[in-house]
Symmetry: C3
Subunit: 521 residues, 3 copies
């Protein structure tokens, strides 16, 4: 079998999985299912136990839930328990307050120092899981990162279809319902499905809950048909599987009250009259929101109900997944260091330095340092508070309409070795505008560049305290954030096509793991 | 031995236990005690472990603590640990917020899908544990449900008396102290004691903390003598065992401040001068409230002190109990469905339809639907907001003194298939009054009934989001809620004795488990 | 080897450890390190497991974290896991609210009843761990008590130096940075280092964060050189190891805002320019505070970085420590009683009764009871609210300048058997003044004494609800609190040197464990 998931990170269904891997995992999960249903629940109970005779090592899983979880956590708990492994970690809202001002970096290094074999983690920030995977040498499984992905939910959903659909996950008509705009589940599920052939996705929802345009176009570029219908009934009638999701209150921008949103959801609820006469299987990651009852109680007693099967299938899939990832007897030892590739980002878009500029900016004020041009008008006061080694170091000001047709701020810092924290502070204050950094030595501009910082407000790279060096990759001509995978559009019209292409050329073309591979046999 | 607790739910000491079962559990708990005290702490450590040679299965317990617990949870933790079993679950206040808007149904189905062998659960709502037992196929142990019951505490208390009293739990003089009005511990303990012969209970307390009348009359109907004394000293002097309990601040109606209640409690505190010269054993479920010190520190050093023994006896009793419940090698497999008996309640009290009424109510307004009569005056505005499939569907109004000598509201709904959520919304708005539902077809009343909803404010059936269909049973002529066990008094004077008796006859006469029995060998 | 840690409490690096024990633990921790690094991670996995053949018992650890912890808890988790032992307990902020009004006494007795072999505990109050050790018969390990000590962190820090410094922990130049005023880590580390020869400690900090005077003088009395330098650079340049610590925001008196403190810390941050050209190892208990970044990100990639090694060394040290403490096959059985030595304090400083006084105080008002003299002026109103057995029992008043040159209050209580709760209430109201208690019988003063209560605001003995009887010991002439170890200065000038010496003579000279030793083989 060519499929090898040994020590693999599972961060994204799009990047870390493919058709073969998914089908292989489904087949392995079915084996787990068959053992349970034939009275052999305990038959794998020694898999992850130490074995004196064979020399097999015990396996230990760490769980790090920065956001509350019951279902996902329990799935992995049960999987480890039934495979005879151990687990430790933290979970719940408590975790988050506990961890106030503690970086993911320090937490992940601590977990690595505690001799775990793999980590399963959930975090509210997009891209936090890719960063966790970069920090930890041991494999990391994404149990949900912000609005980004939730790959193990997607895998168990596909496995449920596989079991219900005669072991096939292609040629499917999938209906999607509920909150399609904010759920990472929808994103990971459709990415996962897009590895199969002949997938049609139908949905009907208000714009507020509707599928996001960039997700739709990415799916379409991968051959998935995405059709928006008028009514939920239209979708259900044409689908073999209708996937209903919870409202993500906590991820809405709070313009509407909970009550208003509940009222809006009323027409999307799955009731008997919507499914009567159909064979459409109703799926749901659960739990149903008791206030909304997006699935009406009588529906629970119909043959259409497939969501409780999903719950158990999650166990089988998690067992299969862990069994593949940890299927080896060496271990990765902790070496007490961060990988050197993590020190710097790759986000400086170098611009050409023209003679004229050299003079203009440099001569006026500083011999050595950094001149930051094209800052947003009015923000100089904030930039001026930046200190270098505790000392005020910023000169400059806001240039209004008296001075220029394009009002802007300009800042001059008496240091040409700015930290990522300072770059990010400046960019975040710039609110979308892209200032130009001019490095000055001996009154001359020796370098000129943009500092690209992902535009996704929820991206982990924008969290200053986390110290994540911004990295991008070249996704077939699109600049994409290594962490949250969102595309980066250069807004600064002064950047030439040549400059942009040069930057793209220097980027890696894929998201490759950053790991020390130090196996001890 | 005729005692069989295999896969038994333990929800109530009154319904799920009897004299033989209690004595049997005490004898088994004593065996656990004797092992510990003779240096054989580890001797049962393989009981719940997988055994390759015998084919014995591993055993796993789920704990679900929706309310904080330390003692009860630790007892079961230790019991499972010492029997070699495993456990997983959630605990603490965190749990409750985490579970916001998640139904017990979904949580219990998830736990069932996670291959546990039994569940121990605590929940703030009365009757939540019976509902949990109905949902789960696996056995459920009540670790406290609201103000209702706490059977395992009662069992360990009786076991403590058994050990101290020469292996006997009859012919006892029990004193009760502390907060007798709000504690589930008192209820379960006295129910449990009522299975024994010749039990006398004495107590002395302000009315605010006093024993509830219905509890006293239920105990008296079972042969227990219940005597209210003037002073705590009177009670202690005449009791072999004095059972002191914590104040249940959180269950009081908050009319008194914590400070006032603490002051009131002062005269009930167990101090040296109250016990001097007696052999009365002082019991307490612990912990003592440090602010009140309802047991004074010097009392801890007397021979009367029995409460720390209770703490350890809880371990022995929990071990014995789990060992009996899980004493089999088959397992209950999860089938992904709710039991069909859970779809509907049995709470429609059918009334006779008289010809005259038919015309009167029906003709005026609707061809098909539901006419709701005798609604509380003034609530029509709220009822009118109910929507059927998202559409306004309610006609009617409030009828004041101009129209009728008994002002009331009347509502007409253009649907004769109301959901339990709508019935409950109407009943809860009616605040104790019992509206009459008239089902109309072709302008005729074809059915007429009351929808009985338990009157206990804290009953799980009144929580709309939980979707619990109301069920009752006929307890020797009393209509009693299947869930919280509170009796239901029909207030509507128009219900005839014949109608009431017909309803009673159709009810089951006992609370029988609802379970799929699907054992896999 | 003479070192014996079997069943030892580890509360303080000063009192419970010595040079031999520390070196022995380092050597044992190195063995744990070597197993991990040579591919034998699992080789001790059966150490704490039941063994049928040898009759070896399983070992179980309880963890009680009243304050949040991740690192310390995980260290012990991993240690137990890798030694094959089990653990149960509670952790987190949740714990604290859960435990509202529950005494440490009741919690520790419960844990003892649950058959654990040892307890690791963290608590916000100074001295709570010594009290926990007194209550529990099983050994107790201090994982941090208030501002007092954190011995296992100190041990792992010394072990890290041991490993980095060619197995030596003497002749060291240690630099200390960060918040030296509030951290228990600093206290335990310097105490631990003070067992070694030729230790020099250097530090530079604002007074707000500076080393406490009494700590410095205690270290100097033990032969440690403590030098305050001008700048952090001065310290780093002269140290082999620079130990940086977090700011203890939560322990500051909140006069400064978080923002102000962050700004103040700026000049103490470890940045590249501070360590460039040095070999000084940078240590830190972790996590770094992400907002302050007291260690700058580039420093993480230098050869100076030693803090991630500390993280893993904590595992090895915890394994070694637990292995020594639990290295026996008997067990301590729970006997359901508090040790009799815990009933009373030893804090009554008896004063001589002179004839004249006898008359003066006694005759005026009461035949039998307690006269409390030299109370702080103005507090009589509060004292008068004290009730004995629910009854008002206090006479007296405030004596102003009209009556006396030293205004004071005086109280007369009609009981001469006051509880510790009442004594403490009076002392706490006295706010540092030391009232004199005169016991009256038949109009005569038969005893006269001060009730000494530790002056440390955060000491566990001052928490009324905890019922800790105050105890002191004679530390070479200094009266020192048994619990928080702070010295007690008698302020009352009327206490004669003879009276003080008599009191000192009656005190024990050391902090000796209070334990029932009841081993079952």
């Amino acid at each position: 079998m060519a499929v090898d998931l040994k020590n693999a990170d599972i961060i994204s269904t799009l990047n870390d999985l493919d058709r073969e891997k998914i089908l292989y995992l489904c087949a392995k999960a079915k084996e787990m299912h068959d053992l349970e249903k034939s009275g052999r629940r305990d038959s794998l109970a020694n898999t992850f136990k130490k074995n004196e005779e064979t020399g097999k090592r015990a396996r230990v899983l760490a769980y790090l839930f920065y956001e509350p979880s019951t279902r996902t956590k329990f799935r992995f708990d049960t999987a480890m328990r039934e495979l005879g492994g151990k687990r430790d970690g933290f979970a719940g809202t408590e975790g988050t307050s506990m961890m106030k001002n503690e970086t993911i970096r320090d937490t992940l290094m601590m977990m690595s120092a505690n001799h775990f074999d793999a980590i399963v983690m959930r975090h509210p920030k997009d891209g936090a899981l890719q960063w966790a995977g970069d920090i930890a040498n041991i494999p990391v499984i994404n149990a949900g990162d912000g609005k980004n992905e939730h790959p193990t939910q997607a895998l168990l959903d596909l496995f449920t279809i596989y079991m219900d659909n005669n072991k096939k996950i292609n040629n499917l008509n999938l209906g999607l319902g509920g909150d399609l705009a904010h759920g990472r589940t929808i994103k990971s599920l459709t990415f996962a499905a897009s590895h199969s052939d002949n997938i049609t996705i139908r949905w009907a929802a208000d714009d507020l809950f509707g599928m996001q345009k960039d997700l739709v176009s990415l799916l379409e570029s991968r051959g998935v048909k995405v059709i928006r219908e008028e009514t939920v009934e239209d979708v259900i009638r044409q689908s073999e599987y209708y996937y209903m999701t919870r409202l993500q209150f906590e991820k809405h921008d709070k313009k509407l009250s909970e009550q208003e949103i509940v009222a809006m959801m009323d027409k999307y609820r799955i009731t008997m009259d919507k499914i009567n006469g159909t064979n459409t299987r109703i799926m749901h990651p659960l739990p149903v929101n008791g206030k909304i009852a997006e699935i009406d109680y009588p529906v629970f007693f119909t043959k259409n109900q497939l969501f409780f099967k999903q719950a158990e299938n999650g166990i089988f899939l998690s067992k299969a997944l862990l069994n593949e990832i940890l299927n080896h007897d060496e271990y990765l030892t902790f070496n007490g260091r961060l990988h050197e590739d993590l020190q710097y980002g790759n986000n400086l878009l170098t611009r050409d330095v023209r003679k004229k500029q050299k003079k203009h900016l440099a001569v006026e004020t500083i011999e050595n340092g950094m001149v930051i041009d094209h800052l947003k008008y009015g923000i100089f006061d904030k930039i001026s508070q930046i200190k270098i080694n505790g000392n005020p170091s910023v000169l400059g000001g806001n240039l209004g309409e008296d001075f220029t047709s394009n009002p802007k701020a300009i800042a001059k810092i008496k240091s040409n070795n700015l930290s990522d924290r300072i770059y990010k502070t400046i960019i975040l204050e710039s609110a979308g505008q892209e200032p130009t950094f001019n490095k000055i030595r001996n009154w001359d501009i020796i370098e000129k560049f943009l500092y690209l910082l992902c535009h996704n407000d929820n991206c982990i790279t924008r969290e200053i305290i986390e110290d994540v060096p911004p990295k991008f990759y070249n996704d077939e001509g699109t600049i994409r954030c290594r962490y949250c995978r969102q595309s980066y559009e250069i807004k600064d019209s002064k950047v030439s096509e040549k400059e942009k292409q040069r930057f793209l050329t220097e980027l890696p073309t894929k998201v490759k793991p950053i790991k020390y591979e130090k196996l001890i046999a």
